[in-house]
């Protein structure tokens, strides 16, 4: 299976179709739709981040939005203060590195402290909500970092991504975002096939057993948490620069739950399913937004509930598995359900 993962499978075919569509799409439509799709791609990086941490490593993080916000704000603060060519790129790097550092620090405290499972979810969710409350009270003029006014709920102005002195618009921006999305996707796919990636799967199944096989489980947890934090921060950077704007609600409870919902519906064990389904759901959510935004979230909530109850592997992964079985005649690549958790009440005492 190790090399077989790159052969003909429903997942890979879906990825190739998806990529071809995104490559051709800008040639067939107007500027607005092109930019709109770039926005979807920025947010889909969140789904990749969550599929990595939750689907591959079995770590339930509800606070990826914290790193999203940190990335967006840091990029804005840097590019507002440092002008000139090249500032954009260092700004992107600064945002991503900031997300990675915060994730690594929090990860160190959690995983080396022996915190796992639901407690990780709680701690990360608490982090993002506290960051939101903190940013919300920065409306006053004393909350200024150099040229950057944080501006509380009015939102902070964020410069666009620019090459030389000219901001990127339209198709070039679209293809830059596509390159980021596909680059991160391919990196994560490659990593899942390495010894380290298989180690993650092992620690999702059983941590003590993985440890006895000689893996440094805690270090691996911090590493994957840090990487997922970096991906979420990149998503935040691209989101903030796309709209020239970021505000504290990007770290709020609704923002925190949406990627979890997208990934639960699509299938958390498959990076491909998480990425494609989040693009589709973002499109659906936007079409509903003009008429009734509340209904979109209720429908997505119900879909996620149905997925968790009846199709635990996720709807898109279920389709992949069926195609694998009946069309490509190969064993399904992604199994559903969890095998790690004990029954209620029998928490492991370590």
């Amino acid at each position: 299976m190790r090399r077989g993962g790159w052969l003909l499978s429903a997942e890979n075919v879906a990825f190739v179709v998806f990529l071809s569509f995104l490559l051709v799409y800008p040639l067939t439509t107007d500027e607005f739709s092109v930019l709109n799709t770039a926005y979807f791609m920025a947010i889909s990086l969140m789904a990749l981040s969550l599929a990595l941490i939750w689907g591959k490593a079995g770590i339930l993080s509800f606070g990826q939005t914290a790193f999203f916000g940190i990335g967006g704000y840091l990029y804005g603060i840097y590019t507002l203060n440092v002008l000139g060519s090249g500032a954009t790129w260092i700004g992107i790097l600064a945002g991503v590195v900031a997300g990675a550092i915060v994730a690594a620090t929090l990860g160190y405290f959690m995983f080396y402290g022996g915190v796992n499972d639901v407690f990780v979810g709680l701690t990360t969710l608490a982090l993002t909500l506290v960051l939101q409350t903190f940013m919300a009270q920065t409306a006053g003029s004393e909350w200024t970092v150099g040229e950057a006014r944080l501006n509380g709920y009015n939102g902070m102005y964020v410069p666009q991504i620019s090459v030389g002195d000219a901001p990127l618009y339209g198709k070039p921006l679209y293809f830059l975002y596509l390159a980021f999305l596909i680059g991160v996707y391919l990196l994560l796919r490659w990593l899942s096939g390495t010894r380290w990636g298989y180690g993650l799967l092992a620690l999702q199944e059983n941590r003590p057993r993985t440890e006895t096989f000689g893996y440094n489980v805690r270090l691996m947890q911090v590493q994957v948490f840090c990487l997922a934090g970096a991906v979420a921060a990149l998503s935040g950077v691209l989101y903030a620069s796309w709209g020239s704007y970021i505000d504290p609600s990007s770290m709020g409870i609704t923002a925190a739950i949406t990627p979890v919902i997208y990934v639960a519906i699509g299938g958390r064990r498959s990076l491909t399913a998480a990425m494609i389904s989040s693009m589709i759901l973002l499109k659906v959510s936007q079409s509903l937004a003009s008429s009734a935004p509340q209904y979109a979230l209720v429908i997505f909530g119900l879909l996620a509930l149905l997925a968790v109850l009846f199709v635990p592997e996720g709807f898109m992964v279920a389709v992949f598995n069926a195609l694998d079985r009946w069309v490509f005649r190969r064993p399904p690549a992604n199994h559903g359900g969890e095998t790690n958790d004990a029954t209620p009440g029998t928490r492991q005492v370590s």
């Binding site: 929090l106 405290f109 709680l122 109850l309 209620p344 009440g345 029998t346």
Partner: protein, 296 residues
């Protein structure tokens, strides 16, 4: 003198808010290991039921009890329809409760609109020195202590409590001895939900009634449960005292936001040393003489 009273008052306000926010969550977590992420929305539901019933003319305390009862029933339904089907898939059940919470808050937004006329805070105020204080917040402190006492009686003196403790200690053996553990889980989930509904009702006079009412309290509830650990009767109150002191000290000195940030930082430092929270520490301390620990 005024300063001392003020500090004590702030501490008891923080303590009761933390305890009331967290106790329902802690009861469910202690029994099932499941964190109910719809906890904030259950509180919101309790606040809405209380407000609607009280506005209709029912006395406020009765309205609060009705709120608790309604949310308790709703919790039982959620347990039977959703949580029960996910036994053995802990993380999935947590994600599922979050989806329930999302449906609740967005559904309430559709049904009742962005906000609702609240009920006013009863009992008025009193003053010590130059500062005026709210009687209602003192009453909340008393109620939280009474609630804690009643929970102690329920878990230590009733048949349900005995069976519940047996189920917490070892579900398989409890089942072998004739305890219907599935029913225990349903009752406990309903009890935890009712406590969330009661907390929502109690907080309703002090806050604006909006569909996202619950988000004001969940950070406090989460950190208290994380620090307290699995023992709702001992861990949660100690955690509420500890965090209440931090919150009151930072909050009065630097404002609400820094108080919240302080809560989170304290929690992160504590879990580095005590991953199982205060309950874990107590367990370890109790087990020390024998030197070995058997699995729960």
């Amino acid at each position: 003198m005024d300063g001392v009273f003020n500090a004590l008052y702030q501490f008891q306000v923080s303590f009761s808010f933390l305890l009331l926010s967290a106790i329902g969550l802690a009861v469910i977590f202690g029994m099932m290991g499941v964190i109910n992420l719809a906890h904030g929305e259950f509180m919101m539901l309790g606040a809405y039921i209380t407000t609607i019933v009280a506005t209709a003319g029912v006395p406020v305390p009765l309205a609060m009890l009705l709120g608790a009862l309604g949310v308790g029933l709703f919790g039982a339904i959620v347990e039977i329809l959703v949580v029960r089907r996910l036994y053995g898939r802990l993380l999935d059940s947590v994600a599922a409760t979050w989806a329930v919470g999302l449906i609740l808050s967005q559904g309430m937004l559709i049904l009742t609109g962005p906000s609702m006329q609240g009920i006013s805070s009863p009992f008025g105020s009193f003053s010590v020195g130059p500062t005026s204080y709210s009687w209602y917040r003192v009453v909340l402190g008393v109620i939280s202590l009474v609630l804690l006492g009643s929970l102690y009686l329920v878990f230590m003196k009733t048949r349900y409590g005995l069976r519940a403790r047996a189920t917490i200690q070892n579900p398989a053996i409890a089942q072998a001895l004739g305890v219907d553990t599935a029913r225990m889980y349903t009752i406990t989930f309903a009890l935890g939900s009712a406590l969330a509904g009661l907390a929502g009702g109690l907080f309703a006079p002090t806050a604006t009634i909006v569909p996202f009412f619950g988000t004001n309290y969940i950070v406090e509830a989460f950190v208290t449960v994380i620090v307290g650990g699995a023992n709702a009767l001992v861990g949660t109150p100690i955690a509420a005292m500890l965090l209440g002191a931090v919150n009151a000290a930072l909050g009065t000195e630097f404002g609400l936001y820094i108080g919240r940030v302080g809560l989170l930082l304290t929690t992160i430092l504590i879990i580095r040393v005590l991953p199982d929270g205060i309950s874990g520490l107590l367990d370890r301390w109790r087990m020390r003489p024998t030197g070995t620990r058997s699995g729960k």
